[in-house]
Amino acid sequence: MGKSLFQKVWDSHRVGTLADGRTQLFIGTHLIHEVTSPQAFGMLRDLGLKVKFPQRTFATIDHIVPTENQDQPADPLAAEMIDAIRKNCDDFGITYFDLKSGKQGIVHVVGPEQGITQPGTTIACGDSHTATHGAFGAIAFGIGTSQVRDVLATQTIALQEMKVRRIEVNGNLRPGVYAKDVILHIIRLLGANGGIGFAYEYAGDVFDRMSMEERMTVCNMSIEGGARCGYVNPDAKTIAYLQGRPYVDNTNFEATATRWLSFASDADAHFDDIVKIAAEDIEPTVTWGISPDAGIAITENIPDPLTATTPEQKASIEEALAYMKLPAGMPIQGIKIDVAFLGSCTNGRISDFREVAKYIKGHKVAANVKAIAVPGSQIVAIQCEQEGIPEIFRAAGFEWRAAGCSMCLAMNPDKLIGDQLCASSSNRNFKGRQGSPTGRTILMSPVMVAAAAIKGEITDARELFDLTPASAVA
């Protein structure tokens, strides 16, 4: 029996078995950001320890960076956190992509961009969306701050081996259906906790055809389905994306590429579970509740607690609808929005802005809607500028911002106010996620966000933008 990519990577990074039965796993690449690292450096100093592999540790700032004027954090706590990461990187000799580097951005955008993210490696970061890097065939997962300390000190962590679930999506996605819809659909089917204890392997011809950026969108939201990591097997697209990037060994590239490809799951690999999904069943998907698995097709109605099959389900629908202030049993289309947010590590890459730019020309954001577009990194921002994308967004009535996490979790000044409803390309719709304790979030693909911004309400982008088979991209 062959091995899955997960098993190959796990086995090649296993240092040993700890007394409690867990594996001591070597972390090839450690990514850090300003929010979850300062406390870990504090613990490290308290213990009198050093960073074991500073050359395998990479830092950037993203969560609290203001997106209007990047280097002017309005509040002193944010400034203190930025100072802390700068000092920690200086003290311990860690590469730091700061605001002046031209490479700063959301940590999950920066890693791939720089070619730091590579197939067959293990990647850890004190951030639950680290699975994004799995798009390259890496085993990448979020860790807590104590584990950030462990990685800094030893380049290893104690971890329970995961099971592997292969999720196959075969067939053709319909026009107007994007990678975001695929993952929202998967989470809807398997549940927000369906992936606990699993690594997800995304396979099948839909993923084969996806660009690297689309694969990142899918892997990014693995944690929303409960899976700590998710990956796509490396292939020719992975290799082509990485070739020439700064942190790739470009002198010996062919050998490197061959080694990378060898990590792909064997044809006869064992999987603990296999789920098959037909691409044709996936519709543009939006959330209606306060958990990412509360998804429905844009053409469906908001659930009604009366149709719940268990008391728990009824209570949870009621709780969600009370918070979201949405009418039970009514169509989700036509629900008025206040804010449209385009960005985040899920959908803040060049392809996302290019795709939206194609459709918003000649349209205007509705008068009562605040729409902001936030590139995921300074490099994405520069690419957009070179292609004239910011002008297109501004002409349509979007605010065009500088790189950062922005309104994904609103640790910077970009926040919802009161119970504003936001159409968002980010990954979480939890209560209060976007900065206001009563703020409301509806997750969807970037093109659907743009459509909602223009109509001022949740709407089917396929109709607004006439996404016929001929005009749509896969």
Partner: protein, 200 residues
Amino acid sequence: MALDPVKQVSGTGVFIPGADIDTDRIIPARFMKCVTFDGLGEFAFYDVRFDSETGAKTNHPLNDERFKDASILIAGVNFGCGSSREHAPQSLRKYGFNAVIAESFAEIFYGNSTTLAMPCVMAKADDIAALRAAVESNPTTEITVDVEALRVRTSSGLDFAVKMPESAREALVSGRWDPIQELLDNEAAISDRAKALHYV
């Protein structure tokens, strides 16, 4: 590093209703602007404990005088889902919780809690309901989470089995809940592994 074994945790409990209580709810992101974890306790569940407009206390169980000394948190399914922020278990720990009993937990939260010596045990829905009824009818009900035997007992006479991954149980009862010393001890094996990896 000698750590205290965590074999049993006792105290009074408080039930926090709702499924999928995420770490944003446990500690809203704006309180993550900190360079140490000290002082996070007062912000646990902040946005559901205080009205966002008036700042007045809500009827959240943590605001209920009867539960003010509770040190065991009781919850439903998928507790601690969402963001990996260790700020969440840290804030619960600093608030004064020493154990969590729930139907199920999110994985990252679980690991983070174990590393802070805060055992999280999984109980059946019926047992959680009975426990809830017990603490709500008598908030002084003493609850013991027996990590060693994987049982929960109460002064009101409940006694039921709970689950916990063996690795976590073993780590707690043997005082190895913080793995850093053991990780450091394997220095030689770490170097060997690093040498064997092409990219390191």
